[in-house]
């Protein structure tokens, strides 16, 4: 994974709360077996409306999404993160993220930052007044800024560290190989095994 530190980009407002992953990418786009190329599925149903925010400049080039609360609820599909990433988003901000989405984002190098609802409204207003507004995301400092405004954001320490170092989760876990083997050695024998198959 690429290391992430400080970047700037156009901010797009998504003025809806409770955006579920079925809206971020409808199920029909989940049939691919590749890990890239999901940009066409991003908000596919909403994008059929020509006035949908991401259909028009400058927001079609947006890299930072400012969304309403409870973003990413519903299905566990990681494709939601891939679609946002493939469209060009590097960060999403909301006042609240669904747990699975939040975890998925961290694993794919998409910054998911938590800011207050008041800050979200303020940024939406700033974008309305100045469409194409560029915001700066400073991951080490956990700050989102534009003009003279600096908004601190929350991200859990561990995810931040991993994003900044560009570390792969599996690699980190494999350093604990011995602990895993020790656990397996003391694991109860009544626990189920799928093999050999029974009931077939």
């Amino acid at each position: 994974m690429e290391r992430i530190s400080v970047f700037s980009g156009i901010a797009a407002p998504l003025k809806r709360s409770n955006v579920d992953t079925d809206q971020i990418i409808p199920a029909v786009y989940l049939k691919r077996i590749t890990k890239t190329g999901f940009e066409d599925g991003l908000f596919a149903n909403w994008r059929q409306d020509p006035d949908f925010v991401l259909n028009n400049p400058p927001f079609d080039k947006a890299e930072v999404l400012i969304a309403g609360s409870d973003f990413g609820t519903g299905s566990s599909r990681e494709h939601a993160v891939w679609a946002l990433r493939d469209f060009g988003f590097k960060a999403v901000f909301s006042s609240k993220f669904a747990d699975i989405f939040y975890g998925n984002a961290g694993k794919q190098g998409l910054v998911a930052g938590v800011i207050t609802e008041a800050a979200i409204s303020q940024i939406w207003d700033a974008i309305d007044a100045n469409p194409g507004l560029e915001v700066k995301v400073d991951l080490p400092a956990q700050e989102l800024s534009y003009g003279d405004t600096v908004v601190p954001f929350e991200i859990d320490e561990y995810t931040k560290w991993r994003l900044m170092e560009g570390l792969d989760d599996i690699g980190i876990t494999l350093q604990n190989e011995k602990a895993v083997a020790d656990y397996e050695a003391r694991r109860e024998s009544w626990k189920p095994k799928t093999l050999p198959a029974k009931g077939v």
């Binding site: 809806r16 709360s17 409770n18 579920d20 079925d22 809206q23 409808p26 199920a27 029909v28 989940l30 049939k31 691919r32 077996i33 590749t34 890990k35 149903n45 309403g68 409870d70 609820t73 519903g74 299905s75 566990s76 599909r77 990681e78 494709h79 993160v81 609240k96 993220f97 669904a98 747990d99 699975i100 975890g103 998925n104 694993k107 794919q108 859990d156 320490e157 561990y158 989760d169 599996i170 980190i172 876990t173 494999l174 604990n176 602990a179 895993v180 656990y183 397996e184 694991r187 109860e188 024998s189 009544w190 189920p192 095994k193 799928t194 093999l195 198959a197 029974k198 009931g199 077939v200």
Partner: protein, 471 residues
């Protein structure tokens, strides 16, 4: 015993801890059972291949085909090319890596969350994961079960562990006795309406109380299944005699001395007296009505006896805006009685409500009755075994005589990845779990209901309770 009293969730966490996280790092937990399906696994297998890694524990891994599979003409090749390719990818991957798979046509094929329990692989005291948010279903056995993303699927395949941040705990206390016509689905829809779709975020839910204790395993699975719709990654019920009775004799259930050893542990799997939850919610089962949704998220639900709410009645501007959007999408006016809402389609299926008990309950309502004109009813058993069992009991005949379509097992119209979709503007009473915009087909409208409400609705053509069709 001077130890700190623990909740059930805390005990399960403690007993699966491989490495305690330090300096903000998550804990590393061992995973006992990993379920796989075709949609969220291809990129995980690719990842293994790219890194030259193997699966650590093939003997704790099992795959089934469910999301894309057709529910009619299953002897033919899957018609839709991308669905066919995805199912084929699963077959190729499981064959290459040596993972057990139950493919279309196999009697053990079905929705992954129905297959695990019926094989006796799901049992108390496990950690269970799957690349599917409704993995919370398996918590009904007193397991810590949760949905994971594709990167996590790859992680579990490679290491049989998962890094996780500890959850907070929430007790959902449901006391009392359900009235006739009210079932597990109504309990969970009422819970979600109460705590909202974000209320469970960061929590593991433990369903407790006399109403939960008196539910069958099927009912408990329905409730735990929709924990994710309340925002919680996992939900659970402490195991008891009903759990043990369900499990005993299933293909993978322990036997003899192993059963005894397991039972000794399983009986410790309950929240200790004096243990504290981070949050508590109370639901009165005595006064609960059948529950239905009117909007486009599962928290937008009311009693079936109620009316569509007026968005103006919401003080919170975000909730008000969401209600306005939902009513526009659903093409509903505030104040309409829920029972006056007419549907075109009734869908009885999904990992929420397609187990044998659900089919029996629905069949009981429609037996000897006529389906409303112009209403289509589709019955999709949760698994092939459920289908076979239902046929043995003659339920298929009840459904067919009524005019319903009797299908093969799969996720089907719950999310419409296969040909089972609603058309634009069509309205369904659905026993599934999500009423999101476009979930069951582009422009389609979904009302979430219980199996018996689905059955009664198919008779009258409008949202109805079993009491409305008695006699």
């Amino acid at each position: 015993m001077s130890q700190k009293p623990l909740t059930l969730a805390e005990k399960l966490w403690r007993d699966h801890l491989v490495v305690k996280g330090e300096n903000g790092a998550p804990d590393l937990l061992y995973i006992d059972l990993h379920l796989i399906h075709e949609v969220t696994s291809p990129q995980a297998f690719d990842g293994l291949r790219l890194a030259g890694r193997d699966i650590r524990r093939k003997d704790l891994t099992i795959a089934t085909e469910d999301h894309n599979t057709p529910t009619a003409d299953i002897h033919l090749p899957i018609a839709e090319p991308t669905s066919r390719a995805q199912v084929q990818a699963l077959r190729d991957n499981t064959s290459e890596f040596g993972v057990r798979i139950h493919s279309l046509g196999d009697k053990n094929q079905g929705i992954v969350h129905v297959v695990g329990p019926q094989l006796g692989l799901t049992m108390p005291g496990l950690t269970v994961v799957c690349g599917d948010s409704h993995t919370s279903t398996h918590g009904a056995f007193g397991s810590l079960a949760m949905g994971i993303g594709t990167s996590e699927v790859e992680h579990v395949l490679a290491t049989q562990t998962l890094p996780l941040k500890p959850f907070k705990t929430m007790a959902i206390n449901v006391e009392g006795t359900l009235r006739p016509g009210v079932s597990a689905k109504d309990i969970i829809l009422a819970v979600i309406a109460k705590i909202t779709t974000g209320g469970g975020q960061g929590y593991v839910l433990e369903y407790r109380g006399s109403a939960i204790r008196s539910l069958s395993m099927e009912g408990r699975m329905t409730i735990c299944n929709m924990s994710i719709e309340a925002g919680a990654r996992a939900g659970m019920v402490a195991p008891d005699e009903i759990t043990f009775e369900y499990l005993k004799g299933r293909p993978h259930a322990p036997e003899g001395a192993e059963w005894d050893a397991a039972m000794e542990y399983w009986k410790t799997l309950k929240t200790d007296e004096g243990a504290e939850f981070d949050a508590e919610v109370f639901i009165d089962a005595d006064t609960l009505d059948p529950f239905v949704t009117w909007g486009t998220n599962p928290g937008q639900g009311v009693s079936l006896l109620d009316s569509v709410p007026d968005p103006a009645s919401y003080e919170d501007p975000a909730l008000r805006a969401a209600a306005e959007r939902a009513l526009e999408y659903m093409d509903l006016q505030p104040g309409i009685k829920m029972k006056d809402i007419a549907v075109n389609t009734v869908f009885l299926g999904s990992c929420t409500n397609a187990r044998i008990e659900d089919l029996r309950a629905a069949a009981e309502i429609i037996k000897g009755k006529k389906k409303a004109e112009g209403v289509r009813m589709m019955v999709v058993p949760g698994s092939q075994r459920v289908r076979l069992q239902a046929e043995e009991e003659g339920l298929d005949k009840v459904f067919r005589d009524f005019g319903a379509e009797w299908r093969f097992a799969g996720c089907s119209m719950c999310l419409g990845m296969n040909p089972d979709q609603l058309g634009p503007g069509e309205r369904a009473a659905s026993t599934s779990n999500r009423n999101f915009e476009g979930r069951q087909g582009k422009g389609a409208r979904t009302h979430l209901v219980s199996p018996v409400v689905a059955a009664a609705t198919a008779i009258r053509g409008t949202l109805s309770s079993p009491a409305d069709v008695e006699g």
